[in-house]
Structure formats: structure tokens, C-alpha cells
Amino acid sequence: MNQTYGIAAVSAAVVGTLVTGSAGLRISRTTSDFYVASRTVPPYLNAMAISGEYLSAASFLGIAGLVAAQGVEMLWFPVGYAAGYLVLLVFVAAPLRRSGAYTLPDFADARLESRAARRVAGVLVVGVGWLYLLPQLQGAGLTLGLVTGAPRWFGALLVAVVVTPAVAAGGMRGITFVQAFQYCLKVTALLVPAVFLLLAWHGDPRPAEALDEPPTFRRHTQVTVETTVRLRVETPLRAVATGAVDGRRHDGDRLSLDPGVHEVRAGTTLRFPAGTPVPEREPGDGRRAGASSWAAPLSGGRDDHPLYTTYGLIFATFLGTMGLPHVLVRFYTNPDGRAARHTTVIVLALVGGFYLLPPLYGLLGRIYAPDLLLTGTTDAAVLVLPERLVGGTLGDLLGALIAAGACAAFLSTASGLVLSVAGVLGQDLLPSPGVRHFRPATLLAVAVPVTVSVAAGELPVAHAVGLAFAVAASSFCPLLLLGIWWRGLTAPGAIAGLLTGGGSALTAVALTIAGPVTDGWPHTLLAWPAVWSVPLGFLTMILVSLATRDRIPPGTEAAMARLHLPEPPVPPNPPAGTRPPRSDHPMTIRRPGAGPRT
């Protein structure tokens, strides 16, 4: 990829973000009352902002990579990300807006009148937020590495350097404009190149069957592996190697690889003639990658129980969306519950429209960039395709556009996440809360995931997102659903449910990443915890609530009425759940939903 264009594009995305942000900041400063202004944000603008924040590096790069590597089954990821908003719309959107809660801990506090529940929810928000930040940082490293040749850790550091001051200085102000701008940038960055790619594909004299197995190198291809890989060769193939293969040094000599498994050391360059079938990459633990079943709807990627895996994914994404800390915050900028519903429907359309594109890139990536399958960096498929398929200056320009979009993707999601995590840290978890401590909290919110990301090297990125969703689904989904729809919920029940559901999912996540169990049902159960941890969370919450029936909060009836009754057409002054006018930062508001009980 042309580095000059790439650096220019990334800089443009960063500068554009900062400029839009500061412009929005100025606009909102001149408005007599920022919060009144924010409550007149029309649904479509708000929806664009929500979508802009939601479509992360995982959506922009990860889905195409997963589809390229593992096939049609991975289409469940985008479907689940979108369907999550439908579940959110149906059960949560309007009541949550009416509750006036600004964060999940706020909701727990307002609904259950318990500081302890608030604190537990806070810890979980921080956990989920950090878990979700990791893949964003890795996406940043990947993109910037490809575009500028910088080492992997540089991207994570750049995100930290851009996001921290932006969040610490401006907080939520003006961010609506930034996020809306970034949604447009992301869609453009995938849509425009997609048109050219489709034209190029159409013009290809051999538009090979995308579903061909196994994929083949379409032209003479040179691959440099960055980490040592083990390749499974099905039919004998020839290559020219520079480096170490199977423990023997090669220096530009021809070698032929017999069927079997071959080890290629890090740094080795292999050159394959056109028409060579792409060798299959063995995962580190010896299980076979599912490349041979790429086209099958339930290939399950590399797991042993495809049907269970698929349902694990569905549970996590459908129910986890509502528990993502940065998603919830945005609903507060809606004028009222009705607008919250309308906004969510528009979000569904915008997000769904976006998700039509990444699978296309995945498909083309499989045909035109099969070497990524070999090196295992399929997340780069989106970025390298214009260069491969279009080529020339146009290809470079399109590649730069995509890089800018990817940049917008990880910047927007990362800033949203850092804002939510820092808010909760500063308000609920650090000693002596207050706006003065918001800045150190921001620093802490960024520092921990950056450190982990730099130290851990390469985590299974796409998987980390799925796990974050699983934890959110098994802790916050029960809290929100039962809190909104069931009068019997008590604080001890909620705390027990949060701890059991979220705790068990987190444990499963930790075990999966640490990797003591690598095979069979135990591995599958741990890698896709949502199917059992969500019901576990619900069950614990209900049973403990029933056992502590005398602890039902006294304000339950009032809280329920406020959640479910529509706002009066002309709100009395001030309407329930309105933030006080002009406060220095949204997080300074203590217990915003407390209403009649304060």
C-alpha cells in the first residue's frame, strides 16, 4: 500500500474528527442551553451518531476477515449485531430513556435504590468496556501497521494519545456531530471502493467461483510470514523459499512440499506460482481449521459443535448489545421515549445497510487475497483489496479511503468506550468522586487496555468482541429486562444475578484466553458461554429476588410508572429524568433518575 496516501488519509480522519468535535463544541457553547439543544437532536442525526459509535473496528475489518477465513457462518456476527438493536428497541429503548438513567450503574441505583447494586454494575461496566476496547486497539495497530509500516503497538498508543485528551477535555459535548460524521465516513469508505471492486471483479476474465475449494493463488504470489506457522498441504506443491522451512535454511531455492504438515519459521518468504492451492493454516493447538467446509452454513469455523456455537453467538449478540456501556449513553440524547424508539428503528436501518458491505469484502478477500489465509492476518482483507483488485493510483487512493474509514471506526468506538468507562470509574469506583477526578479516571480507563494490548501481543481479536458481548448479555441483559418489566426485582437479587451471570461469563472468557482447555465440549462451552450464562444470570436474579421479597424497594411502583407511561405532550418543568441545565459534565450529575425519591 502506498504509504504517503495512507498516512495522509489517516491524518485526515484524525484531523477531521478533531475539527468536527471542536466545531460541535463551539456550537453547543453558543447555544443558550446545551441540554435543551441536545434534546432537540432529530432522530436521524442521533441515529447516525449511534451507528457511528457502534460500528467498530470489529465491524469494519473483523467481519470481512472472519468471512474470508471461516465462511458464510460468520455472517451471523453482523446479523446478531443488528438484531441486538431490535431486542433493545422492543424491551429497553423507550423505558430506559424515560428512566432518566444515564449509565447502567445509574439505572441500577435509580431502580433498586441500592448503592451496592450500583457499585457491582459499575465494576462490570468497566470490565466489559475494557474487554471491548482491546479489539479496537488491535484493529488500530493492524491498520496503522499496514498503512504506515509502524509496529503493532504504535496504533494502540496513537489511539490513546488522540482519545484521552479529547474525552478528558470535552466529555460528551459535540460528540453527536463527530459520531454522525464518522458514520458517513465509514459508509463512504466501504461503499465507494466496493463499487470499483465489483467493477474490477466483473471485468476479471476469470471471475473464479468464490466457493471453490480450496482457494488458489490467482497469480504469482509472494508471502512473508510474520510469525511461525504450520501449514497443512493436501497436494504436493512447489514454492521458492527464503528462510527456514521444516528446520532447513533456504536461500531462494525451489522446494516442493509433500502432503502433510510443514513448519514455516517467522520471517520466511515463500513465493508460489499462479494456480497453486493455498495451503491450510494449522491453528496453534493442532485442531484443524475449517477451511474445507468454508461454504457450509454450519461449518462452525474451527469448533466441534457448530449448532451450539451458532446459538452461542446468537445469544451473545442479540442480548449483549443492550448491555454495552457506550450504546446506552447515547439514548439519553433523545428528547423522549417515543423519539428513542424512532431513533432505534433508524439505527437498525443504518447499521443493517452498512453490514451489507463487509461480507462482500470477505468474499472478494477469499478470492483475491488468499495469502492472508496463510499468514492468518485475514483482518487486513478489507485494507489490501483495492490494491490487489484495482491497482495503480486509483487503488492506492481507494485503499487510503478505506484506511481513513477504519481509523474512524476504532477512534469513534474507542472514544465512546473510554468515555463510559472513565465516567463509571470516576463516579462510582475511585475514592472521592467528582469532576476533578474525571481526568485521572480517563487516564486509567485508557492505560489499562493499552497496557494489556501491548503486553499481550496478539489476542484472538474477533473472539474478544464476542466474549465482551457474552459478558454483557449475561449480566446487564437480565438486569435491564427484569428491572424494566418485573416489579419483584430486589437489590440482593440483582447483585447476585450480576455476579453469577457476569462472573461466570468472565471466568469462561479468562479460561478461554488463558487456554487450559482446548478441546471437546468443555472448550466449546467456555468459548461460547452465553447459552448457559444468560439463563444462569436470569435464574439467579429471579430466585434471589423471590427469596428476599421483603426487600423490594419502596419506590418500585413510582419507578415502574415513570418507565412505562408516555411523557406528557408538553412536559412540565422539569420533566422526570431531565438533566439539570448546564452542568460542567454529564457525569457530575449524581443519581439523575432519582426523581421523586431524592
Partner: protein, 89 residues
């Protein structure tokens, strides 16, 4: 609230029936090695058709939910005092 919950559950049920049962349906598809057409169906359903379906369900829900809220407001007689009373009960 009860009617809202019923409506929400009904909508969620639609989602479960439409999307939740798909993996099971896919297992019933013929082996792609034998009939590659099945794969195309999966691509079309998951890659394209799912999103308009989600939007339509969402839209349908919003219309119904607002009708329920309109009824509730009518029953309250449009009197905000009534509503406040309900809130404090």
C-alpha cells in the same frame, strides 16, 4: 404496561421464529457438496434479507407500541394530574 410487555414479547417471538430457528433450518439444507444452491440461499438470507426484515419488524413494533400508548393516554383522559397521581400511587 402489561399490554406493552405482551407486544414486546410478541415482537421478540417474531424475531426468534424468523432468525432464531434459521440455524436449525440450515442443518436441514442438503449438503453443499451435493447441491451448491443451498449455500447461495444462506448467503442471500444472512447477508441481505435479514436486515430489511429487522427494520420491518422494528417499524411494526413502533407503530403498535404507540397505539398502545395512545390508548393509555386516552384512558387517563389527557389529564396530567391523573398521570402524576398514577406515578405516585
Amino acid at each position: 404496561m402489561r399490554r406493552q410487555l405482551a407486544l414486546s414479547l410478541k415482537t421478540f417471538g417474531m424475531l426468534v421464529v424468523l432468525l432464531g430457528l434459521l440455524p436449525l433450518a440450515f442443518t436441514a439444507l442438503p449438503d453443499p457438496a451435493v447441491r451448491p444452491g443451498g449455500t447461495l440461499v444462506v448467503w442471500a438470507v444472512l447477508g441481505v434479507a435479514a436486515y430489511p426484515a429487522l427494520v420491518v419488524i422494528g417499524r411494526w413494533y413502533v407503530v403498535r407500541a404507540e397505539r398502545v400508548e395512545g390508548d393509555t393516554a386516552d384512558r387517563a383522559g389527557g389529564d396530567t394530574a391523573d398521570r402524576a397521581e398514577g406515578g405516585r400511587r
